[in-house]
Amino acid sequence: MRYWVRDSWFQAREFLQTFGASQLFMLRLIMLTPRALLRPGLIVQQVYATGAMSLVIIMVCGLFVGMVLGIQGVDTLSRFGSEEAVGTFAGLSLIKELGPVVTALLFAGRAGTALASEIGLMRATDQLSGMEMMAVDPIKRIVVPRFIGGVISMPLLASIFTAVGLFGAYTIAVVVMGVDKGEFWSQMQPNVDLVRDVLNGTLKSFVFGVAASMLAVFEGYNAIPTAEGVGRATTRTVVITAIVVLVLDFMITAFTL
């Protein structure tokens, strides 16, 4: 019993220390962001590395998620005789929830792990110490551009995911299952609101972008400089990002509706 209490105390203390360190780290990132914007070349590189390089996985997944929505939508709505509402169903699902959330989860798996392992390996191979010795702040030069690149990429990727998902839903519902083309789009048009739905989805993907990018660079920067340490940091990035994204999704949904 005594050991259990002691272990719990140590774990709670470690959690609080890590949480506090991550908040200080995030504060520093945000404070350094305005100056980092003066070097757009570094940010464009990172938008390419985190965003453009994630396009294939985002588009393929978006297509299949959209197609599943098309099948499920038609199947479910036809029980109520309103399969023509599948456009609205797919649109709202993708724009408000699936687009931002699934993109964030895929981002964590593709770009988040790449960021964490890259920065962790730079730590393990003394590249970050080398920079410090060259009087170059690695947080300014390496971490902040990657963070900003991730934040910019996420809403763009979520938009592409949603657009490709809608195409998938349209293909299945209209081309394969015979829902009327006009009904598909015309029902969607008045029922998807720009502010309540589209901006809400964009806000979510922006917040997820901040959280996923911050967690990835934080884990990479604080990785134990060994092969095992970098591996653990990469795993933690995916696991913690997935949990944080789902918790944030609930909170944003609850507070904005």
Partner: protein, 283 residues
Amino acid sequence: MFGLGRKKSHAVEAPKSENIVEIRGLCYSRGSKRIFEDVDIDIRRGEVTAIMGPSGTGKTTLLRLVTGQLVPDRGTIIVDGKDISKLSRKQLYELRKNMGMLFQNGALLTDYNVFENVAFPLREHTDLPERLIRHIVLIKLHAVGLRGAWALMPGELSGGMARRVALARAMAMDPSILIYDEPFGGLDPISMGVIVRLVRRMNDALGISSIVVSHDVDEISAVADRSYLISDGHVVGYGTPSELEHNRNEVVRQFMTGMADGPVPFHYPGPDYSEQLLTREAR
């Protein structure tokens, strides 16, 4: 030469002393393990000073303390007239522009080729035009014999070449202190000879001060003006290479002659050998 292109410095100049680095009463512990206990070291201007000692005595830790990557528990470290533990981050970075460090593994940026690695500090700290940066980089690479390798990526370099590129990069800003962390480790005899000559030549040609951390006695004897021998958290020997060779301290003698056993034991402390073999427990 390149000071003209440097971005504005905010560091406060201090009067120059004979020693470029002065360490007084240095104490440093990691957890419950004591690394240094009341250590005094002077690094003279214009000389090559070696820091030697058995593996695990904290030689690299000492370099990290001197460069401000670690903060001492007690004592002072004065580098070029400035107490390094009292500097702000900005002042520390200003001071580091005047220092070059060669890491054990080179620490080259793996995304950049040789040219870009050497150009990196120049691009970060100066407003020099690209044409001039190109000239400086080629001069530095020529000095280490790797001008022809400018386009290679770090992964395409041998260990010796990577260290020479790292040396060219460390010299890029024309520092007044060059710090080498185990520059001879894991090199073939030819590469080792090249690095030994480069350490000496750079120091004399550029009029800088060098600190070399190593446990390679022969190489250090060939290159160092003075050496410190550290063991068990203390300085146990100091002097020119020949003075150290004739030092009567048992630790110094064991280190200089490479004896396997002595004051620094061959066996890591543990229970009695026969007792441990005969015990029923697995470990």
